[in-house]
């Protein structure tokens, strides 16, 4: 049985904001199936008593003092903007929430 369906891949592509053609979805679904089969080896290797490691070098409480440092100029901040209007980033109409 396939580990992942084409619909699931389509859902993930939507979540990840990547437009995909039907052919791409089909191809990726079959690839994902192989990859997932391979990586699912990790399941059940470590017992419940094994803590997960998110940072290989364990550290904690790394903070900076609440001090203001100079910002970029708006010119620098907007230097890469695909579109701008005065000192704001110009983007296509936003759907959804207000």
């Amino acid at each position: 049985m396939a580990a992942i369906s084409r619909d699931e891949v389509a859902h993930l592509a939507r979540l990840a904001r990547i437009e995909m053609t039907d052919a791409e979805l089909d191809h990726l679904a079959s690839e994902m199936d192989l990859i997932l089969e391979s990586v699912s080896r990790v399941q059940g290797v470590a017992g419940a008593d094994i803590p997960p490691t998110s940072h290989a070098i364990a550290m904690q409480n790394v903070m900076r003092p609440d001090v203001v440092v100079p910002s970029l100029t708006p010119e620098e901040a907007l230097s890469g903007a695909p579109a701008r209007e005065e000192d704001r980033f110009k983007v296509p109409q936003i759907l959804g929430e207000e």
Binding site: L12, I18, L28, V39, A46, P51, I57, V62, F89, L95
Partner: protein
């Protein structure tokens, strides 16, 4: 006949600069000439900053003339992997997504290089967002291995290692998430080091997998690599994961040439089946050299390494799926489909479809899946636990030995196109390098000869405990010296001549 200037090591260039027998401008110019002559075939560089580099070289020369005390590497040229930001210089990460983007800030690595007076020649090619082992995933064409132009130079940092092997630069910066410094070093007969996680700042390194990424030094010799290591390493308050500890004495360690009494562990799980015969031959010869130099070799077992590849291909894509979300065409990078009628969401979807290559999309989707509610524990959670086991395996091993060794990769450089349609086969390339990243420890690859069957470079990997990176340099420096005295010359000197245009 004297060695051409570009064939010198960085240490030799440093000495010549200090003695005044060469200037930084001459050095930079010689390398730009070499790049002009061979890079159309090699394609190591994506962008050359000739004007900026020559200006910096001139300023180093002026400082030297004025009698200022300079860093030993001041005036020595370097090739920078295109995944690190350099203010005002295009930074693409090998992706169409960032075509034309010029960051408004310097990465800490670049700031450190500039402070030391290292001359940055340009940006080198790489697999898109550092995802790959061949540079075939670059949106800007594949880099070719100077040892055989029909073969891959490794990846993701194939551009940096090819630049070294083609004598286009004596020093280079790479980044290593699962082997992207060491595997390219191995297949191009150069040296590359992945430092302990947190010892080189990640600020300005465009993230692939935050908990695994680490920038590191690349060169043609262990000593050059050590010199560069000391320039780029050090605490940086801008990176929360940066380790606040003094940088070890890498150069001193590289110069020691003494490993008498050291215990070196051979990782049982990282050899044998799946490893090319010639790779094992050269690896075993290197072990003999280490024994002759006075080290004791023992076999060490790390049973969890069996799951390292699987854990890596869950953790890295998961983090990548989140790290790469910011490429949405709103603030920087390319924007596709904004015709005034489409919504921001539609434009994001179209931009990401066009801007990302196949491998990047594959990993984003894989990562999104592994983090989904309902699958998190089975995939991402399990992988993070495997990571704990791998760390423990290393801890147990390092309780018995000073360093661990293995071949850097199972095979020598493969043909361009050979594995590009088989992601799983491609992923297997990293089987020996990945455990190092998962545990955050140091790893080095240095050349240990040419495989008898194909005449291509073989990499020898040395792994050192976290924050004991100098051990890699000590062992690496000794091994390099032993092998070179056996060969009569450094391995890179036997690289085939490239056609000069």
């Amino acid at each position: 006949m004297s060695t051409p200037i570009i064939h010198q090591t960085a240490a030799e260039m440093s000495a010549d600069l200090a003695s005044g027998s060469v200037t930084a401008v001459e050095l930079a110019t010689a390398h730009y000439d070499r790049i002009a002559a061979v890079d159309s075939d090699v394609h190591a560089f994506l962008h050359l900053d000739r004007e900026g580099a020559l200006a910096q070289a001139a300023s180093v020369d002026a400082s030297r003339k004025a009698g200022e005390k300079l860093h030993p590497l001041a005036g020595v040229p370097l090739a920078l992997k295109d995944v690190l930001t350099q203010k005002g210089i295009p930074t693409t990460c090998g992706s169409k997504m960032l075509e034309g983007w010029r960051p408004p800030y310097d990465s800490t690595v670049v700031a450190n290089l500039k402070k030391a007076g290292v001359v940055i020649l340009g940006k080198t090619n790489m697999d898109e967002f550092a995802m790959g082992s061949s540079t075939e995933n670059s949106a800007y064409g594949t880099t070719h291995n100077p040892w055989d132009l029909s073969r891959i130079p490794g990846g993701s940092g194939g551009g940096s290692s090819a630049a070294l092997a083609a004598f286009e630069a004596p020093l280079a910066i790479g980044t290593d998430t699962g082997g992207s410094i060491r595997q390219p070093a191995a297949v191009t007969g150069t040296v590359g080091v992945k430092p302990t996680y947190g010892s080189v700042s990640r600020y300005g390194l465009v993230a692939f997998s935050s908990s695994l990424d680490q920038a590191g030094p690349c060169a043609r010799t262990v000593l050059d690599t050590a010199m560069l290591h000391e320039v780029i390493a050090g605490y940086d308050a801008k990176d929360s994961t940066s380790i606040n500890a003094p940088v070890g004495k890498m150069v001193e360690a590289a110069k020691k040439l003494d490993i008498k009494g050291m215990k070196i562990g051979v990782v049982k799980e990282l050899s044998g089946e799946g490893y090319q015969a010639g790779v094992l031959t050269r690896f075993n010869e290197a072990l003999d050299a280490l024994v002759s130099a006075g080290a004791e070799i023992v076999e060490v077992s790390t049973p969890s390494f069996e799951y390292a590849l699987a854990a890596y291909y869950l953790i890295a894509p998961s983090e990548a799926s989140s790290n790469l979300a910011r490429f949405d065409s709103m603030r920087y990078g390319i924007r596709i489909g904004d015709d005034g009628s489409r919504s921001a969401e539609a434009v994001m979807n179209m931009t990401r479809e066009v801007g990302f290559g196949k491998e990047v999309k594959r990993r984003i989707i894989l990562g999104a899946y592994a983090l989904s509610s309902g699958y998190y524990d089975a995939y991402y959670g399990s992988a993070q636990k495997v990571r704990t086991l791998i760390k423990r395996d290393y801890e147990a091993a390092f309780a018995k030995v000073d360093v661990l060794v293995s071949p850097t990769c199972p095979t020598t450089a493969f043909k361009i196109g050979e594995k590009s349609d088989d992601p799983l086969a491609m992923y297997l390339n990293d089987v020996a390098t990945i455990p190092v990243n998962l545990a955050g420890i140091g790893g080095m690859s240095l050349p240990c000869g040419l495989a008898p069957e194909d005449g291509l470079p073989v990499g020898f990997q040395i792994m050192s405990p976290a924050l004991k990176d100098e051990l890699m340099y000590q062992v690496g420096g000794t091994l390099e010296a032993a092998l070179q005295s056996k060969w009569g010359a450094p391995l890179y000197a036997s690289a085939p001549e490239l056609a000069v245009k």
